[in-house]
Every structure is written in C-alpha cells, then in structure tokens.
C-alpha cells in the first residue's frame, strides 16, 4: 500500500510541477500578446473601432491594396479639420481615456491636470512585491503612474495570499513579479511595467535605481533596507520606506528633499535614523512573528499615498521629516513622531560619508555581514537530541535504544511554541510551555527561598520521567533543553532531557503527514 501511496504522491508532484510550468508559460504568452497588441495598435483610432461598420468591412474580405488606398484618403479627410496631430495634442494634454479613467482624482486641486501629467511622466521603483508592494503597486498603477519597476526574487506561496493581494491561488509557484504584472495589467493596461525577477544586490542596485524618480522600500529585512537607502542617497532619489509586523506598522519618507550628500538641507536617510543595525536575534520576520493582512495593507497603501503626494507636490513644498506609527489595537491607531534632520556624521548622507558610488558598485559593501545573521542553533550534543523516527518508536512503546517494550506514558513531551500555535495543532499528550515564558525565566536556579519557582518548572520537577522538548523547527527546543538543565531539572544528569531534531516540521514530513503545515 505504501508503494501505491508513494507512487501516487510522486505522480501528483510531477503533475503539479508541469502545471506550474504551464501556468508560467500561459502568463508569459498572455503578457507577450498584450504587449504585441499594444504595439500593433494603429495610431489612427478609425482602424480599431469595432463599432464602426465601415471599419469592420475594411478588415474582412477586401483586397489589401484597395484597403490601403481607402485609408490613405480617409486619413487626409480626418486631418483636414485640424491642422495636424500635434495641434490636437496641445488642445487636450491627456488622452480621452485618461480624462475618464482618472476623472475622480483629476477634479481634485491636489492632483489636477498638472498632477496627472506629473504622474504620467513619473517612474517609480517598487522593491519587494509582497504585503507592502502589492497594495502600493495596485494604487500607483490605478492612479496612472507612467512607468513602474517591480523588483522581487521570490515566487508566490500559498501563505502569502492572505495579504499579498495582487497574487492569486492559480499563480502559486509563479514569480511574484510575473504574477503582479498579470494583475496590474488587467487593472490598468496603460502603465509601462518593468520586471526585475532577482533580489536587489549591491552590484545591481545602482543600475536598477538610476532611471527612476522615486523608490518604495517594500522589503522585509534590515540588509536590503540599508542598501536601498544608501543607493537612494547616492543617486538623489526620495525613498518611501514602510514596514509591518503582527499588528504594528511604521512609515517614513526619507531623503526628502533628495539633496546631494553633505547638504544639510536634504532630508534624513535610513542611516541617520538608524545608524547601527539591530542585533540579528531581535529581528523578527512575518513568518515567525505573524502578520495581519490589513495591517501591512494599510502601510502599503500609505506608501502609495506618500508617493503620489511626493510626485505631484509643488516644488519646494517639503514636509519636515516624520515617522508614522500605526498600531492596530491601540487608541489612537495612528501617531506621528517628529524625526531628526540629517545626521552630521552620517556615513551615507553627510560631508563625512564613507559610502561612495565606487564602494557600492564594486560590491565591497557587505550589507548582509553589516546586519549580521543568526547562526543555526547547535547547542546540544548528539546524545541530547532524538530524531522524529526514534521518538515515534518511543511513543509506540518501543524503546528506540534498547528495543524493549514499555509503557507509552513513560515520558513528558514539552511543546515550546507559543500558546496560539499550540492550540492550532499539537502532538497528543504534549504539554505547552511557551518559549517566551522559558526565555523570561532567569536561568540560574537561585536559591532565594522568598522567590516562588515558576509553575512550569515546579510542574516538571514533580516528575522523574524523561523530558522531550519539541518546537516548530528544532531551534527553540535546544535552547529550552539547555535552560532546563541549568535549572537543575535533569537531577544532576540522572534524568534524561533532550530535544526532537527538526521539530514539528520533521514530524509532519516523516511521521504524520496529516499534521497541519502553517
């Protein structure tokens, strides 16, 4: 039976892979078709008007030479009342569809005809097409920004869809940039979209940014935030930067006005506000911390708004620098903080800047190293760790080391994920001690008699059964094992405490395929 199941699984995987391939090809083909249609659309509106019966007749069943003759005559007739095309252009600076499509923003004094022309002539680069980039791109494409560049090296995953609103279920597996272009083209086919399907690097940053007027930082890590800010300072671009996690969001318009490094009248850059990167262990991703869709959506929409404001503003009408803090469960939800001006000793935008175009382009600036990274946790000896296979045997009552059969309840399984994910799914019989509680516990078991031991420690101390610790991926569980030993729960080495290698992800892959993946 297992061979049948395995073979079916394999076949499904193959079919899914080719389905993904086909979808990608379809999107590419559709994209090319649209581009061709756009390119082949004749200048003379008469030719493509499907409601015109004459036009229809001309396109069906009439010899080519006859048709071109007729058109030549017609073209002259059309031109006769107006002198030429350019005169028509001066009379109505926007095309007819633009008055209709953008009418609701055109009639506002904040935009008007000048603002719309500025938007049409503008080139905006959106770095990151995820939770921030999707809504930001949707509103900028909707508003009629002339050219929009999209940078992202990732592919669409199912867990993106609750917040990354341009992608769709059918496009899981497609690159985020391609997927976004499909959605944005159907929203507004008049915008020129430029795809960049690789992650931004120091080597590519300058050449990618140089042709744009404004940059939106919609990325998700400190290294790219410093890189994007430095590049914007060196090239004199204003940067609209936003971020979000869980229920909070932050927004800043940086390097605004985008004056050359050393000019103290220029707006502060990311390095002025955050000269040093945060310790890597304090950086939490949306995958680990969670994110509420509308929270990151609000921040992305605000980026689009700031971009429109910046692109259409009257010259020299600059707002003082500020940080907008959004907190979905606080009252009030929004708060604006006055920020500092350019830092006198900023390494990027001051007279003393050490970050130069040469240094950036040569790739000698290592942003990943600058921001550091959390090295994979390897805190335990092999004896303190158990594979999911061995643990599964142990649960079935067989001792994986001696082969003897014993009581199933011979151990305690501690799950150290937070309470909410633990309530989503857990291994039968496990008890929950959230990692935040473990970490908040002082590691030395101080002998102060007046300090009550925390409940979870007291509970585990009451038993002598071996303890196995599990978490999502097998990192927090190792730290917990260490902590438990520091707290003396191993009775001086007499009691076994170990972690389950690879955590619940390995458990799902190797033992229990029904265990939910989240």
């Amino acid at each position: 039976m297992t061979t049948v199941i395995n073979s079916l699984r394999q076949q499904i995987a193959i079919c899914e892979a080719s389905l993904r391939e086909l979808r990608q090809q379809l999107a590419d083909a559709e994209h090319i078709q649209r581009q061709q249609e756009k390119a082949s659309r004749p200048k003379n509106p008469l030719v493509t008007d499907p409601t015109d019966p004459f036009d229809h007749d001309m396109n069906f069943g009439i010899p080519d030479d006859f048709r071109s003759e007729i058109f030549a005559v017609l073209e002259q007739e059309v031109k006769s009342p107006v002198q030429d095309d350019s005169a028509h252009y001066i009379r109505w600076p926007l095309e007819r569809y633009e008055y209709k499509r953008y009418g609701r923003q055109l009639i506002m004094p904040e935009i008007g005809i000048q603002g719309q022309l500025r938007l049409r002539n503008a080139r905006v680069l959106i770095v990151g097409v995820g939770g921030l980039g999707c809504p930001a791109a949707a509103y900028l494409v909707g508003a009629g920004v002339g050219t929009i560049g999209l940078v992202d090296g990732d592919v669409v995953e199912e867990s993106n869809l609750h917040r990354q609103i341009l992608h769709s279920t059918a496009r899981v597996g497609m690159t985020k940039v391609e997927s976004a272009i499909v959605a944005l083209n159907s929203l507004n086919p008049n915008v020129n979209l430029v795809p960049y399907t690789s992650r931004i690097t120091p080597e590519t940053a300058t050449s990618t940014f140089k042709d744009y007027d404004l940059v939106l930082d919609c990325t998700d890590n400190p290294a790219s935030r410093y890189l994007i800010s430095d590049t914007c300072v060196l090239l004199g671009k204003t940067l609209v930067s936003a971020s979000a996690l869980r229920i909070d969001g932050q927004l800043m318009v940086l390097n605004n006005p985008p004056l050359p490094p050393g000019d103290t009248n220029g707006g502060p850059c990311y390095r002025c506000v955050f000269p040093k990167p945060p310790p890597p262990e304090s950086v939490v991703s949306c995958g680990d911390g969670g994110i509420l869709g509308p929270v990151v959506g609000v921040m992305g929409v605000l980026q689009a708004l700031e971009a429109i404001k910046t692109l259409t503003q009257k010259p020299l009408a600059f707002e003082p620098p500020s940080l907008l803090i959004f907190s979905a469960y606080s009252n009030p939800m929004f708060r604006s903080i006055r920020l500092r001006s350019r830092k006198v000793k900023c390494t990027a935008c001051s007279m003393h800047a050490t970050i130069t175009p040469e240094a950036l382009d040569s790739g000698s600036l290592d942003y990943v190293q600058f921001c550091g990274s959390v090295s994979p946790i390897d805190a335990l000896t092999p004896q303190e760790r158990i594979s999911v296979e061995s643990y599964a045997k142990l649960r079935s009552g067989v001792n994986p080391f001696t082969g003897t059969v014993s009581n199933k309840d011979n151990h305690i399984l501690v799950d150290v994920r937070e309470k909410t994910p633990f309530e989503l799914c857990s291994i039968d019989g496990s008890i929950n001690v959230p990692f935040s509680v473990v970490e908040a516990t002082p590691s030395s078991s101080n002998n102060d008699m007046d300090v009550d031991e925390e409940d979870w420690i007291a509970q585990l101390r009451r038993s002598e059964k071996p303890i196995f610790v599990v978490c999502r991926q097998g990192n927090d569980s190792q730290i917990t094992v260490k902590k438990m030993k520091q707290l003396g729960l191993d009775a001086g080495g007499k009691r076994y405490i170990g972690d389950i290698r690879g955590g619940l992800e390995s458990w799902r892959k190797s033992i229990d395929n029904d265990f939910p993946e989240y």
């Binding site: 998700d220 969001g249 945060p278 310790p279």
Partner: protein, 107 residues
C-alpha cells in the same frame, strides 16, 4: 527637598518591545527625581531604572547594549525623536510621555 521625591511620567512601548515588559504597553511611572549621584533624573537614568526595576525579562541585551538603548530602538520624548531633545541627557520633566519603539522590518 526630600530624597524620595518622584516625577510622574508615562512610558510606552511599541513595535514588540512590550514583550520584554510583561506584555504591558503603557506604564505610569513615579521616577525618582534624582539619580544615584544626586543629579536630576535624565533619560539615561530612566533607562537604567526601567532595566533594573521594571523589566522582569532576563534578556536585558534586547533593551540595553553598551549602557544605552540598543540599536534599532527609537526613543521618543513627547512625540519627538530624542535626538531633537538632547538624547539621554534630557532631564525628565513632570508629565513627560516617553516612548520606546522597536523598528520593524517585515513587509
């Protein structure tokens, strides 16, 4: 002036820092008016006070590094970046609202 005089202030944590402070976002605090050496309480003293007296979490390095607030945390005094107010030398005033904001990176 007695030694146990205090200054009433409001402290707020945002961007996830509240996790280090028992998941409580807002604190009404009575800060001693003088620091250890009898000088008027400034923000540097407030940070030490928070670390020693308010923060129960043992991971002090996620709040303070090299005797100052760690990189990636903005300190805002009455809705303004503390760099506009003299950073940690700013002398705390009655009724001040001081906010610690951890930067977010998700997107």
């Amino acid at each position: 002036m007695s030694n146990d005089e205090t200054i009433p202030i409001t402290i707020e944590f945002s961007g996830g820092l509240e996790i280090l402070f028992s998941n409580q976002k807002k604190y009404s605090l009575a800060l001693p008016a003088k620091d250890e050496s009898g000088e008027p309480a400034n923000v540097a003293f407030l940070v030490r006070h928070l670390c020693d007296k308010v923060m129960k979490d043992p991971r002090k390095e996620l709040f303070v590094l090299d005797d100052t607030v760690r990189p990636g945390i903005l300190v805002l005094i009455n809705e303004a970046d503390w760099e506009l107010e003299g950073e940690d030398k700013y002398e705390v005033q009655k009724g001040d609202h001081i906010m610690f904001v951890s930067t977010l990176h998700g997107g």
